[in-house]
Every structure is written in C-alpha cells, then in structure tokens.
Amino acid sequence: MAGYTKTNITPPRWLLAELTYSCPLQCPYCSNPIDYAKHSSEISTDDWKRVLTQARKMGAVQLGFSGGEPLTRKDLSELVKHARDLGYYSNLITSGYGLTEEKIIELKEAGLDHIQVSIQASSQELNDHIAGTASFEHKKQVAHLVKKHGYPMVLCVVIHRENIHQMADILAMAEDLGADYLELANTQYYGWAHTNRDLLLPTKEHFEEAEKIAQAFKETVAGKMKIYYVVPDFHEDRPKACMNGWGTTFLTIAPDGVALPCHSARDLPNLDCPNVNDYSISEIWNDSKAFNFFRGDDWMQEPCRSCDEKEKDFGGCRCQAYLLSGDMYATDPVCSKSPNHHVIDEAIASARSAALAENEKPLIFRNSKNSKLLS
C-alpha cells in the first residue's frame, strides 16, 4: 500500500450487497467463505439503507442483491424500493428457490430492474444433486415468470466437471427458457470450490470441447441472447484482471456489515476489513487499510513489478495468489511467468487423476454443519 496517492482513487461503481449467508441450496462451489457459519449476524434494514445511500452518493450505480439467498431477507422489497428511489440499477442474484409470482410482482412494483436465476444443470437429476435440494422444476417455472413480468432475464449456470458435458443441453435450455443473457460461469476456485477442486475442475479437453459448442451457439443466437463467459483461468496462461483492479470499482458488503474489496477478501490475513457499523462508506473506500492495500502497483513483486502487462491484469487475483502460494503479494500463479505456476499444473493433474480414480470421493456440500466442521 505504500506510495498510493489519494488522487488515484476512483469512486465505486458496483455495490454487491450480500444480504445473508442463509441459503436453502448447498452448492459445493459456493463463493461464500468456508467459515460462513461463524458470521451469522446480519445488519439491520436501516443499516442497509444507510449503506445504499452512502455508496450511491459516491457514484455506485450497479447494485447486486446477493447472498446466500437474498430472498430469505424479509426486507428485500423495502431495500429494493430504497435502491430504486436512489437511482440504482438493481440486480437480484437468486437461486429462484422460494420465488413466487406474487413476490416477482411485488419486487417489480418496488422497482427491481433485473433477476438473475441460477440453474445448476440441464437435467433435473444433476441439478437437484448439485443444489442439494429438489429445485429444478421450480427454477424453470421461476425463469418463465421472470420473463412474463417483463424483467430482463439472466440465466446463470456455473460450469464444472459434473455438468460441462451438458453444454449443448444447457444452451438449448437457455434458449427454450427465453433467457436474454446466459452467464456461463466457469467455477472460480475459492472457498467451497477450492475445497472440492479435485472433483470440480474439468480437464483442458473438456473445456475446449465445451467452448467450441458455446462459440458455435453464440453465432446462432446473435441479436436474441447475449452470452457472458467467465473464463476458466486455470487453463489460461495469463490471470484475470480481478475486480477490475483492487479498490477501483467494486465494493462488497458482507451480511454482517464487513466491507470487502472482493467477496473472497475476508480470507486474506491482516487486512482488518472495516465494518459499516464503525465507518461510513466514504471512509471505508477512501481511507481504510483494506481498500488501499493493493491499490496501484507499489505492492507488486517480480515478475509483476517490471511486467509490461501489469496495467492489464493488475497481477491477477490476490485471493488466488494467497490460496495457492501462501503469499498474497505474489503473482497470481495462473500466470505462466509466475514462479509458482507449477501449482496450477499440479492442480490440473490432481483433478485429472481424481476423475479417473475408481472410487471418487464425495463432494462436500455447502451447509452449516460442514462449515462448522471445516473451520
């Protein structure tokens, strides 16, 4: 953080409001922290309203209501209305579980702009297995209702080794459901997905095959459906430009009011992430240790420091560097220039042998019991 100057600070544009860690689903790649069960307190409706007001004043305009499952918060419509009054574009990021037509109408009237529904697979059996809950038919019903009530509909499917072979069927399902956008989110290996990586990481051949199918499909639906593709960074040789740069664009508020530069940052050591109960959003964004920690590039080590691509990818993801090398200042090991790049090759090899093993170990599902066991 040494050497950053405050004139370099750009205002937040994106606010991710993780309203709760409660979720009726148990997806084994959940991006919530492994120890989420320890952080079960939730800030109040008034706290959220204050956060929304303060962040909007600074320039945040895209707002994601996320979780856990945000529908479990009883005050969701009230927060949506507050967001609309402030001029946010609000996105509800939901499993669809428990979403009724009545609620869809209520949220529309409150001013919700968009609903993103996640589906875990193109078949009921696999969807219900991965979600850990019988939910497939209900999710499809919800997708229809979202369209019926005039929302733009984003269908989100997280891609991993258990469902990547369904790519063609997933695309057909998205078209059939009338999705305006399809997000093919290759699993990012943090939190629960890191724990289950041997069972979730597809082989390079799987990716290439799936990508070919998705590319061909993209052309056939041009003008009707847009496809967002979250890249499988383990099979790339340059890291992702994580969060568009630390503390430049994204602000996440966790259910207990902890403010995070990215939703995994709570796993990094000694950042002292501030809480909205103690500071205003402006103090958090401009002055806190956590948000200034990786701003700019003075924190970088070699090979990032002298790299001519550092402006492009900002050294990759800090959480991934920490998770895979134990050093949060290191070059993201995904980068082929990283001295730790071998850990990526080892992870791919380890996942491949797990895939070929006769007795695959079971997935560890995301639930409170496992959270307590693992943390």
């Binding site: 600074m58 702009d113 993103q116 733009p152 984003v154």
Partner: protein, 90 residues
C-alpha cells in the same frame, strides 16, 4: 438487422437511460453492465421514445442545435444502438 426508416424508434424496455450526477454523464444500464454515453449519443437516445422515425429524429436535432447534415452520424449511431439492443422498432 438494420434500421427501417419507416418505423418508429423506441428505447429498449429492458435497458435504462439515466443521468449520473457522480460521472456527469448519461449512461445506459442493463443487467450487470453500464455504457457511458457522450452528450450527442444521449441527445439522440432521448428522442427514441416511440413517437419518431429516423428522419424525424434527425430533423428535430438539426432544429434543436440549429445545424444541418446530421443524418450520417445519427444513422450510424442508431445502427450501433440497434445491434446492441438499446433500441428497437416494432
């Protein structure tokens, strides 16, 4: 997909056009995304309210800014807007 000169042009119901005080510019908002507009693009899009054709938008803007010869610029921009789903014609 190209613009039909005979049809009215309407801003998309699934996008939102809005002035952003913090950025001092108009933006288009859509699921998980935002496009920042320059002043002339915003002026064009504000007239896409379902009551005007391409020719009417051109003449309204030429009148508003007391100028001539805007057709090519406006046509080019609205073609892009159509491709991006920001506007539609029924």
């Amino acid at each position: 997909m190209t613009l039909n000169p005979d049809l009215l042009i309407q801003f998309s119901r699934t996008h939102r056009l809005q002035w952003e005080e913090a950025q001092q510019k108009n933006v288009i908002l859509y699921p998980e995304g935002m496009v920042e507009l320059n002043a002339s693009s915003a002026e064009i899009l504000k007239l896409c309210d379902g009551t005007r054709t391409l020719a009417q938008i051109v003449s309204d803007l030429e009148e508003k800014f007391a100028t001539q010869g805007l057709f090519n610029d406006i046509n080019t921009f609205l073609e892009v807007a159509l491709q991006n789903g920001w506007i539609h014609q029924n």
